[in-house]
């Protein structure tokens, strides 16, 4: 009786994905502790939420591609527009907050005292402002397109939204830390998109898949995408860190290096988990031998672990 009640209370539901937000913030917190006396910019707390939301939006757009070889779609396109629009809306709010925070920091004004003229100059003249404005424009466009498609039941191609999401996700890394080096922008963009494509489809599946058959169709496809993302993520991350740190000593001596070490540990842990599940969960789910609920539990657990790594990454991007 009691155990049945307990099991019921702990029943997994897609709502548990909301814990990705505190998990990401916890990742920023860990990075903040590791980085002392250097400190990540407080805006990384918003940044991690923005990236988690953006990755989920991008992930939702990939579901159609993941099921491309299915004779009958597991997820209809009509099911995708509503969550895409809602998440893109939240993403837009996070990006607006990021632009305002960046403007306040660059101009040394409080966010409340920021004048429209100063803000306009920031959006027009400073690349952080231009990028921020373009990102907000992209995410707003995604929300509007998806909301219109949902209202009208339109059968619009989802590629437009996917491209906008990719551009919005890559825009900050392109102008970030690595932008001073040749190819640095390219590596930054590849790193961010690989991370988003590793997490996003997993969250999207956890949000929408309810049947064993749906997991059987999509999970093996996702698994193929995931290991390629891990490969890109590792290569670009190692190059970035090697160039930025310039030596093994800096891994321990600098706050930046210690966050890099934490990211490496997170990558190894997630990689080991992924490797193990690739041998157990993926074949079982692919052969319809696993309940949808068990698949959902694993997907949520992995997504939450990844969210912590995203927190570390957001903090690293804003650590000097």
């Amino acid at each position: 009786m009691a155990s049945a009640g307990a099991r019921r209370r702990w029943q997994i539901s897609p709502r548990w994905l909301l814990f990705a937000a505190p998990a990401g913030l916890a990742g920023v917190g860990v990075a903040w502790l590791l980085a002392r006396p250097a400190s990540p910019d407080p805006s990384s707390l918003i940044r991690v939420l923005a990236v988690l939301l953006g990755s989920t939006v991008l992930g939702l757009t990939t579901l159609e591609w993941l099921q491309r070889s299915e004779p009958r779609p597991v997820i209809a396109r009509g099911q995708l527009w509503r969550p895409i629009a809602a998440l893109a809306g939240a993403w837009t709010l996070a990006e607006v907050a990021l632009v305002v925070a960046a403007a306040a920091e660059t101009t040394e004004t409080g966010a409340g005292a920021l004048s429209s003229t100063t803000f306009g100059r920031f959006l027009g003249d400073v690349n952080a402002g231009q990028i921020g404005g373009a990102t907000v424009a992209c995410t707003t466009a995604i929300a509007v397109i998806a909301a219109l498609a949902f209202r009208r039941g339109a059968d619009w191609p989802i590629t437009s939204v996917a491209v906008l999401a990719a551009v919005a996700l890559a825009s900050r890394p392109v102008t970030g830390h690595m932008s001073a080096q040749t190819l640095g922008s390219l590596l930054g963009a590849a790193h961010a998109l690989a991370a988003a494509l590793w997490l996003g489809p997993l969250v999207a599946m956890a949000l929408l898949l309810r049947a064993r058959g749906a997991w059987a169709a999509l999970l093996p496809r996702y698994s193929e995408l995931a290991w390629r993302c891990v490969a890109v993520l590792t290569v670009t991350g190692v190059i970035d860190a090697a160039v930025k740190l310039g030596g093994v000593g800096a891994l321990v001596d600098t706050g930046y290096g210690r966050i890099v070490l934490a990211k490496t540990a997170a990558l190894l842990a997630l990689g080991a988990l992924g490797w193990w599940w690739r041998r157990t969960w993926v074949p079982a789910a692919g052969a319809h031998r696993m309940q949808a609920e068990d698949s959902l539990r694993r997907a949520v657990l992995e997504a939450l672990a990844m969210a912590v790594a995203f927190g570390l990454a957001a903090a690293l991007a804003t650590t000097a």
């Binding site: 509503r82 629009a85 305002v100 660059t106 040394e108 920031f122 219109l148 080096q181 040749t182």
Partner: protein
């Protein structure tokens, strides 16, 4: 498969080589030199105080001030950003002692970098100081004189956007 691995290895090597070849990699822009040099002694104030960075800086929102031992502002007017250099006119200085050059400039990756450099004036000059930096700053950067405050527009935009979206995404009730 082995070709693919080889291609990947070559690409990686090329990428690393290109990045390392790009020179010393710093997180943000760093100051490479200043005029007057940090910790130096000068007999006469320079025409301009100049801070030079290792990379081109963004021209907007740069601040560069020279504050004397008397706590007065000795730099004159707004700083100019030219490539990696930020300069501000100074001219003749006043009392002998330590002068502080304070800068805050936005680097190419969008992060503001700030810091100070000091130099010592050994012979008294006859220049006239500007205002105390604190009071001057509040007037110049308070934002009130600079147009309407931004936050009501942002709040209104967010409300319209969020409300519109919530309305558009409401579940169709009963109709279907």
């Amino acid at each position: 498969m082995s070709t693919r691995v080889r291609v990947l290895a070559v690409t990686m090597f090329a990428a690393v080589a290109a990045l390392l070849g790009a020179g010393v990699a710093g997180a943000h822009a760093v100051v490479t030199s200043s005029n007057p040099a940090d910790g130096s002694s000068v007999a006469v104030g320079p025409e301009q105080a100049i801070i030079t960075f290792n990379e081109p800086m963004q021209p907007s929102f740069a601040t560069l001030t020279v504050v004397g031992p008397d706590g007065n502002l000795w730099s004159k007017g707004e700083p100019t950003v030219q490539g990696p250099s930020v300069s501000v006119p100074v001219g003749e200085l006043g009392p002998t002692g330590d002068y502080t050059i304070a800068y805050r400039v936005t680097s190419a990756d969008g992060h503001p970098v700030s810091g100070t450099r000091t130099f010592t004036l050994t012979e008294q000059g006859s220049g006239t100081p500007g205002a105390k930096p604190g009071g001057d700053k509040a007037g110049a950067e308070g934002g009130d004189s600079d147009g309407l405050p931004m936050w009501p527009f942002i709040v209104a935009g967010v409300l319209v956007f969020g409300g519109g979206l919530a309305f558009a995404l409401r579940r169709p009730s009963g109709k279907s």
